[in-house]
């Protein structure tokens, strides 16, 4: 029935292998990009076919065993895929957005050195991500989990000859290792805990079935889920492991859009959704997740207020939006979190691609005018809406969506999260307050970005101004498609109080319902409260936009005054709360010092000492013993006779 499921990750893998092996020889950009994009599109078609099959099916959980991996005692591990509503949503997002971004990359990466390398990595990433979301047991998922980490590293360091890019790649990889350590701890502890109860499995369906064997709210399940959550904070850039994501913007922009906005960074959210049964049983973990998510949403938004690099603003915005998703997971609004994951994939991918289009255009213009200005600095932009109308319109739509203005996709998902964080049995009004404040700031900094980039007077160098083109159609088509979905993507999840039936929630219900019922997680409150909260969040967003309009359109000199007035606060926020410096001081420098000590103290003195000491002793012995070789025949003959006498004497007597 669902036996062609394996084709979904298979197609990108083929593309990756093909481009990796032959891309260098082919050289033709159309062939390389066409193969990569075409295979992604095939994968998308298979995914869509499976989704429709699943929509019409009464049984919602399907497993496909591809091959046996290992059998140890009574533990059986398979290469298996799992299709249920949750993974169906994820494969649609990954293949859909993935295909568009592959198409975009054809135009964006035009003329870059290592064009084939880029598509090879991008396909490999799609493969790993699909293994992650389709994996039917925790180890297959872990393979995908590590695979996306690797591809993220490779793609951030794509311009490896640039020092900052390779450093950023290292940072992303090392920070992710910390998270992966948590993931492994959780995995092994869970395996051990279930084996204690006689269930030898890592299969998600079986884990969900036998989760009740563990003590609900007990220490064990709290440790397991907290370890998993540590893994999620690494991959999904949450406090305390979020510092790598803004630096990851060193990679090409399509990479930022695909990996660091739409797909890989949402892996943590997906993982919590996949194991929602376990998480729901650990209220302490859920609370931790909600608080971490809320704080991340808030702090990342404050940093986003003061950045000038267009991609960095979007990066902090991504961290902030991921915080929202974790907030949703933490208060038990699993389907709302996944809903936001999906809408976020649309509008954030569109925003990143739009920023890429702007950067592409400016880069082109500076190149033509032989200037070396920074094409990513928003202070060099302004008034671009006439130069790049398609980019501008799609960008604006996505910005409105992320700001939570009614009837755009972000509104529905964000509002559902805010409502749950207030009204859920696991929620609290403080969590709502964090979320709402972050929403206001999001609206402000996103419109600040739009106003600085597309409105106002042109601040681009006069020599380059006339050379700014609208991007080619491979870039604008993905923008239009994503912008369209950013506009309407929310309509599959219209909440009940607005007269909808929330199809999205109903579709995902088979995955989340049981855990929510068993642990009494639900949102409660009067309709009036819900309407009021909705009105407040819309009002906050509008205020944010208004302030941005006042500061960046009406009185463009106001931001400077504002910065002068609150210089200390601005400095702290501009420098990202000095988190990087703090981590340097707390972790990086001690590590370096320990390394230096081990090098100078242990390696040079002890290890080298032992090795050289052995050599020295042997050399000394040799120097002494060589004088026994006189070269005179009778000496050797004498030694032989004495030897024979001794041996014979020994044998006889």
């Amino acid at each position: 029935m669902y036996s062609n499921l394996w084709l979904i990750p298979f197609f990108p893998l083929i593309g990756s292998i093909f481009n990796g092996l032959f891309g260098k020889k082919i050289k033709n950009e159309a062939v390389i990009g066409g193969i990569a994009t075409g295979l992604m599109f095939l994968s998308f078609l298979v995914a869509a076919q499976n989704l429709f099959k699943l929509l019409g099916d009464t049984k919602k959980v399907h497993e496909l065993v591809i091959a046996s991996w290992m059998t140890v005692g009574n533990f059986q591990l398979n290469w298996e895929l799992l299709l249920d509503p949750l993974s169906a949503v994820m494969i649609m997002v990954v293949t859909g957005v993935g295909t568009l971004i592959h198409l975009y990359s054809i135009g964006y990466m035009h003329g870059e050195e290592g064009y084939y390398r880029f598509f090879c990595y991008l396909n490999l990433f799609a493969f790993a991500m699909l293994m992650l979301v389709l994996g039917g047991n925790a180890l297959v998922m872990f393979i995908g989990w590590e695979g996306v980490g690797l591809c993220s590293y490779l793609l951030i360091g794509y311009y490896y000859e640039k020092k900052s890019a390779s450093t950023a790649a290292n940072k992303a990889f090392i920070v992710n290792r910390v998270g992966d350590f948590g993931f492994l701890c959780g995995l092994l502890t869970l395996f051990w805990a279930l084996a204690e109860k006689g269930v030898w499995t890592l299969n998600f369906v079986k884990i969900a079935e036998s989760g009740h064997l563990l003590e609900s709210g007990g220490l064990l399940i709290t440790v397991v889920t907290l370890s998993f959550f540590l893994g999620a904070t690494g991959k999904s850039a949450q406090i305390p492991l979020f510092t790598w994501l803004p630096d990851a913007m060193e990679g090409p922009t399509p990479v930022s859009a695909l990996i660091h906005a739409a797909t890989m960074v949402t892996a943590g959210v997906y993982m919590i959704g996949r194991m929602n049964g376990l998480f729901a049983m650990a209220p302490a973990t859920m609370m931790t997740i909600a608080i971490v998510g809320g704080l991340t949403a808030f702090f990342a938004a404050t940093i986003g207020l003061a950045q000038n690099d267009i991609k960095r603003v979007l990066a902090y915005s991504t961290v902030s939006q991921l915080g929202y998703m974790f907030l949703a997971m933490g208060v038990g609004a699993f389907s709302a979190g996944i809903f936001h994951l999906m809408t976020h994939a649309f509008f954030k991918a569109c925003l990143f691609l739009g920023s890429g289009s702007v950067i592409h255009g400016l880069h082109h213009a500076y190149h033509r005018a032989h200037l070396h200005d920074d094409p990513q600095d928003m202070r060099n932009m302004g008034g671009l809406r006439k130069k790049m109308p398609i980019t501008f319109i799609t960008f604006l739509v996505s910005t409105i969506a992320i700001s939570g203005i009614p009837f755009f996709s972000g509104f529905f998902s964000k509002d559902e999260i805010l409502w749950w964080s207030f009204g859920s049995t696991r929620g609290h009004w403080l969590l709502w307050l964090l979320g709402a404040a972050a929403a206001g700031m999001t609206a402000f900094y996103m419109f600040r970005l739009v106003f600085m980039t597309f409105f106002g007077e042109q601040k681009t160098d006069a020599r380059a101004r006339d050379h700014i083109p609208e991007s080619p159609f491979t870039i604008t088509i993905p923008l239009m498609v994503l912008g369209f979905f950013a506009l309407i993507g929310g309509y599959i999840g219209i909440p009940k109080i607005l007269g909808g039936v929330n199809r999205f929630d109903a579709f995902l219900a088979p995955v989340f319902e049981q855990a929510q019922h068993a642990n009494e997680i639900h949102a409660h409150g009067t309709l009036a409260t819900e309407y009021t909260l909705m009105a407040i969040s819309v009002a906050i967003a509008t205020v944010g936009i208004f302030i941005a309009w006042v500061m960046y359109i009406k009185n463009p000199e106001l931001p400077a005054k504002f910065v002068a007035r609150f210089s200390r606060a601005h400095k702290v926020v501009f420098n990202k709360w000095y988190i990087d410096e703090l981590y340097d001081f707390l972790f990086v420098s001690p590590c370096k010092r320990l390394g230096t000590f081990l090098w100078r103290g242990f390696d040079v003195k002890v290890v080298d000492g032992v090795v050289n000491g052995c050599a020295w002793v042997i050399k000394g012995l040799g120097t002494g013993l060589r004088y026994t070789q006189s070269g005179y025949l009778y000496n050797y003959a004498m030694a032989m006779v004495v030897g024979v006498v001794v041996i014979v004497g020994f044998l006889v007597f």
Partner: protein
């Protein structure tokens, strides 16, 4: 009456003389001759014991020893000629280069 012990004693004396010669003499040909003495003392032992035990194996072995000794003599003399061409001497003290 000459018993097997007499033969063995003579053989031991010959072997000791040969060994002493190998250790003390410098002239390669004399050393070579001493080795021959040692070999022949062993031959004597073989034959004496063979006769004493009444088994012919020992005597057969002596033929082998003589054959090998002949071959050895050929190789040894060739070596000495080669030595002499090198150093105008066959004194073993002049051939002490195999050392530190």
């Amino acid at each position: 009456m000459i018993t097997v012990n007499h033969y063995l004693l003579l053989s031991a004396i010959l072997f000791a003389i040969g060994t002493f010669g190998v250790l003390t003499r410098k002239n390669a040909i004399v050393i070579f001759m001493c080795i021959e003495v040692m070999l022949n003392s062993v031959n004597l032992t073989f034959i004496a014991l063979s006769r004493h035990v009444g088994n012919m194996d020992g005597q057969i072995f002596v033929f082998f020893v003589m054959t090998v000794a002949a071959a050895e003599a050929a190789v040894g003399l060739a070596l000495m000629i080669a030595f002499f061409r090198n150093k105008d001497s066959i004194d073993t003290d002049d051939f002490n280069m195999l050392k530190w």
